[in-house]
Subunit: 254 residues, 2 copies
């Protein structure tokens, strides 16, 4: 791995994650922190990023906080990124994914975009927007009724379009995950999209922050044993959770 190559990847990760930390990058690339700092220094000189204490951020990033959805986005951002990174190892390059709407799946999409070479079918406007620029990313945004609060499409048009595709994975991030109640969402529309994606995919990957484990929401998506992979951050509460059929992956977060 050469410095130019590393710098290009750092740039990719930066656009994906908005910010990068020196020590995190040092771990990921298996080089010393000094090397990373030197890279960041060079890239700052080329005005590609802005160095800050502890790492770097996009130079021209304007943050305009918006309603509920935007608020949730910043919440547990670190863990969500870690979950996204962990999920990345489950999805081989070149495969086809349905991706559901959600702040966790957005973090996942950012990682996916940074890696490139993937086919994505999603109902999330945000994911479509993010991944549109990705290298070798074939993105399809599903049509339908845009939701009032969440940037995503729902409704029968969305569902019927999902049925026109087949994918390797359905990546969904529900509101709740409960041993008895299974996987749940807050709204019928959301749950229906998630269910349709699962139906048309070989394998079901659930991304889920540990907050949501043990939570039951209003509308059922599926039973727990219909989930093939669960990716979450380490959490004591989750110890009691197990999938009869699938595997649980923990994304360790400091």
């Amino acid at each position: 791995m050469w410095s130019h190559e590393r710098q290009a990847k750092i740039l990719g990760l930066l656009t994906a994650r908005q910010k990068v930390s020196t020590s995190q990058l040092a771990l990921e690339f298996d080089v010393s922190r000094e090397t990373i700092r030197r890279d960041l220094l060079e890239m700052e000189e080329r005005a590609l990023l802005t160095r800050v204490h502890g790492g770097a951020m996009l130079s021209d990033h304007v943050i305009e906080p918006e309603p509920a959805f935007e608020k949730r986005r910043g919440h547990n951002a670190e863990q969500k990124s870690a979950i996204g990174r962990m999920a990345l190892t489950l999805i081989p390059e070149g495969s086809t994914c349905f991706i559901d709407t959600g702040t966790t799946t957005i973090a996942f999409a950012r990682e996916l975009m940074a890696r490139g070479n993937i086919r994505v079918i999603t109902n999330s406007l945000e994911i479509a927007r993010i991944m549109a620029g990705g290298k070798d990313c074939d993105v399809l945004l599903l049509g339908g009724r845009p939701h009032r609060d969440v940037p995503a499409t729902y409704g029968e048009m969305t569902l019927s379009q999902i049925d026109r595709f087949l994918a390797d994975f359905a990546v969904i991030s529900p509101v709740g995950l409960h041993v008895d109640r299974g996987v749940t969402d807050y709204e019928l529309h959301e749950a229906e999209v998630a269910r349709a994606m699962m139906r048309r995919a070989q394998s079901c990957v659930v991304l889920c922050h540990s907050d949501k484990i043990g939570v039951e929401s209003r509308v059922s998506i599926c039973r727990l044993d219909e989930v093939d992979h669960l990716v979450t951050d380490q959490n004591p509460k989750s110890a009691g959770l197990s999938l009869s059929r699938g595997a649980v992956h923990f994304a360790g977060v400091e």
Copy 2:
């Protein structure tokens, strides 16, 4: 093995692997590193690759994506709003509109949303997002491939979905409007969506800032006489423009 031959093979390996290392190549071709370096030097002079410490990589196009869309948005915001308000008078409440992508149509969508009671079918993520919250607004976002720079969907999926609907109006905002060359857009994808919308609508409304009058762009959408209503801001240049079949409306701007 001659140097040309070797260089050709190096080029092949480079496109295959993205990067090549001096020592690796020296091993593969069973020559010294110096020889390889001389080859790489030559090839760099011919701009076939970029040498880096340890080897070479594909010529790097580190490009800074220009914020074209965001920049355009703020441009002539006042006039665009006025055009949007003017257009509002043409569209009765309760009617169904196709709305094309563009900064001018976004301004129009804002007005439409404020009034409410409208059915909208659009390929613009931005318009879908804006109008989703509107009172009595039935919005449908068309699926398809998200564009790299512009928040909108294009492609055959978008086109085939347009054909599933019929509307009263197609509201489009082209890049250029020229007496002889007619209505033009910059990209084929954009033009095709606009054309499809026109085909499935009773009436065609063109929103167009006076800047664009007299401009011809690359891809033709339609002839001028296929336009039913043109809404623009008052401008001396536009005096010469007339529609054989439709009406021209001026949105006076202070």
